[in-house]
Subunit: 239 residues, 2 copies
């Protein structure tokens, strides 16, 4: 892949092995347990571009920062909003990697506002039908993992940053429009070697829009529940 | 309460405060965060009998051990089976306190087989209707917390110990019938000052019984899904 200039995109989690004697890997520390592998891949192939997709922990943010410029990470909208307390009782907020602790969320928010070129938006939006989120046929199976953020992702990101300022996790002076724009739409293109799209862009505006309950297919047979249903969100339009 | 010889039964968790600046209390460490309060209650009222109900962590087991004989703890059947990986995608395994890490489960199993008089069975069985486990009316609300183990609790406990031996978490020589019987039906009575029931008891037998899917009301209008549905379980009968 390095030789052919391909990009390695990783879902970076070590397999959970809670049944092994002495083993303690679960969905909570599976990402952190993978980071030594990320470092060894980068050391073996320093020119290989690697993206640690949908990273969720302070440890992952630090690990990606510690690598050279060929290693980047994406951050989703929902991981800027959630912690473990939010998804435990809500299947529509359950995703993999699972959202972690408040300190991890703060680290992700810092990476978003920091303007570093190696962090950029990746939605990982998952349009599972409502039934799959509620245990499949008969409702007694497993909850499908994933959050459906597609229609409102950038607005949710900006709303999360706004809330972080309100909560004091990020200071207002740290937040710059240019850096947020870089996170949402420039750093990724740059990493992938794509030209900037100077003609069109998304404009985000706060005008009281609320995320609807769900999206339905034309004949109503498929329903997908929006992440953040009922919450106010920044509106997005093409300009 | 101490003066009147009442028993203080605690659901021991500090409130989650993931939104506070710098705070990191979540459903994962809320029990451990409560333990200093347990210690201070015990120090202030050393003769007050306290039960730390449905304890879930190695830290709680150690804290209860470190207190005097007036402090005890109950352990549920489901916390001997589950870790965080099991309930994340299964509403019927989601309860509060949530099941924690493999090391915590091993600590609970050690307390069960240890025969110490301050640990005893408490089911915390919660017969939530299937709809409440799947988000209430319309299915988009929160998942009700609780596992329904009522009909098979002691069998699930013994099955969990059997599995712990198979996995090497507990050695076979540690498991004694008398100690398991004490955990299930003697230590609790003793702590509460109730006489032993010498006339009747539960006999547990392994004969291939499987836990059914659910329990329904006579008219079928209420359905409660069994914890461990479809799994083989030790059978219980009165003798």
């Amino acid at each position: 892949m390095q030789e052919h200039n391909l990009v390695l995109e990783l879902h970076g989690e070590s397999p959970s092995t809670p049944t092994g004697p002495g083993s303690n890997i679960t969905i909570l520390n599976a990402e952190e347990a993978f980071l030594p592998t990320l470092h060894s891949l980068h050391a073996a192939f320093p020119r290989l571009r690697i993206v640690l997709e949908h990273c969720t922990t302070a440890a992952a943010v630090a690990a990606v920062r510690a690598c050279g410029p060929t290693v980047a990470a994406t951050i989703t909208a929902h991981h800027l909003v959630l912690t473990v307390d939010d998804w435990a009782a809500d299947p529509f907020s359950f995703c993999k990697p699972v959202a972690k602790l408040p300190a991890d969320r703060r680290a992700l928010l810092s990476a978003v506002v920091g303007g570093e070129s190696k962090f950029f938006y990746g939605s990982d939006s998952a349009p599972h039908p409502v039934g799959a989120k509620r245990g499949g046929e008969g409702g007694k199976g497993k909850t499908a993992a994933g959050c459906f953020t597609q229609a409102h992702g950038p607005g949710i990101v900006v709303g999360a940053v706004e809330r972080a300022v309100e909560k004091g996790w990020v200071t207002e002076s740290e937040v710059e429009k240019e850096k947020l724009a870089a996170f949402l739409s420039k750093n990724g293109r740059q990493f992938y070697g794509l030209p900037e799209n100077a003609e069109r862009g998304i404009v985000l505006e706060k005008k009281g829009e609320k995320i609807p309950e769900s999206l339905k297919s034309a004949d109503g047979s498929v329903e997908v529940v929006h992440f953040g249903r009922g919450e106010e969100v920044w509106s997005a339009r093409w300009a």
